[in-house]
């Protein structure tokens, strides 16, 4: 849950305008609400890759994985598990 809070914190302190944090849930669309655009997505990818030690493939850059905070967190967890599986 700490990782999710870090993710949320980054998005709403660095990327969001007009301080949406009080209004948007983890299931609300960040694209439709103007939090993420084509500039912000690049920053976000970099944050996720640098801070969670995972690599996002091109084909994973889709709305299903980045539309909401819950979607992103699921992807991060999934990639971490895959990363552990590869190590084993």
């Amino acid at each position: 849950m700490q990782k999710k809070e870090r993710l949320r914190g980054y998005i709403f302190s660095e990327l969001a305008r007009d301080n949406h944090s009080g209004n948007l849930s983890d299931d609300d669309s960040l694209v439709e609400n103007g939090v993420i655009d084509s500039v912000a997505i690049v920053q976000l990818l970099s944050f996720i890759e640098d801070n969670f030690g995972i690599s996002i493939e091109d084909e994973e850059l889709i709305p299903e994985n980045f539309e909401t905070i819950n979607a992103m967190y699921s992807l991060i967890q999934q990639k971490e598990v895959q990363g552990d599986a590869n190590l084993n």
Binding site: S13, E14, L15, V31, I36, D37, S38, V39, A40, I41, V42, Q43, S46, D50, D58, E59, L61, I62, P63, F66, E67
Partner: protein, 382 residues
Amino acid sequence: MDFEWSREQLAIYNEIRAFAKRELNDNLLERDREGKFFWDGWKKCSDIGILGLPVPKEYGGAGADILTAILTMEALGYGCGDNGLVHSINSHLWGCVIPILKFGTDKQKQMYLPDLSKGEIVGGHAVTEPDAGSDVFSMKSSAIKSGKNYIINGSKSIVSNAPIADIIIVFAVTAPDKGFLGGVSAFIVHKNTAGLKIGNPLEKMGLNTSPISELFFDDCKIPVSNILGSEGSATRIFQETMEWERSCLFACHIGVTQRILETCVRYAKDRKQFGQPIGKFQSIANKIVRIKMNLELGKLMLYKLGWLKAQNKNVMLETSIAKLFISENLKSAALDAVQIHGSYGYMKEMGIEKELRDAIPATIYSGTSEIQQNIIARCLGL
């Protein structure tokens, strides 16, 4: 902190600078007047390895890392007065060679990189549309999968190298509901593909020797194998292209600014009025001081950007700062140069006004100054 370039890098810089001064400045004003692309110059740049600068040697390139590429392009910008040729070389390299190098399949790399590196095929890059400039991901050109092909419909505007390109990286919407998150793809399109019409060269204010035109797609069939990267990966491809372009093309601008500076210093020492060189008057000297100061600051930012990119760091902020600063200062340096040279600066014969006409779009292409400021503001969390 070590600011030294390696001996090898400096040798390359000196070689390219001397080569460009010696080989790429014939009939500059005539070619500018006639809007003629300098094919001989292109061939000479190919022979010396510039056209495959970042391409690994296994594909026939020079295998230059980002910092060496930046220094090489700075040398080219300084030595070559044909700013249009330099612009076309940059479009070829960062708009076409880099996307294929970074995102192409092994087969695509084998097919295109050797000939691109030799300059035997010319590359272009088509993303802008009449209603999608700064807001590039609002593009409308579509690519619909149909069997073994994608069918592209739409148009692209302001495509550098389009009239002379053999292949063009074309961005089109493959999933309208996804937008920039997986909705746009990039394709390698050959110039003679049925359904593709290349418009006539557009007349511009400057960079007259770098041809630009529109592209029109009417049920243009592109093999599925010509998609670059995976479907929907255009955001990453575009971002990578911009990072290389905003560093290496603007490295050329550092070179041009150096050339403008030296021209101004020479003139300010030679031209005498009221019994002394005009450089002794502060109103002239201060303009030249500002050019020098901004040139050195631009270099520092550019080299830092190159170093960060070589470390695989996120360079979105630094790229925008460097591009904004260097392009704005190139434009103001060129304007100051005209002013310093007085009436002679305004006359075509001296070539100073050409530098200004060629410098003006620097704050427009590769993302306008306004967009760079937006990006920097976003990176600051504003």
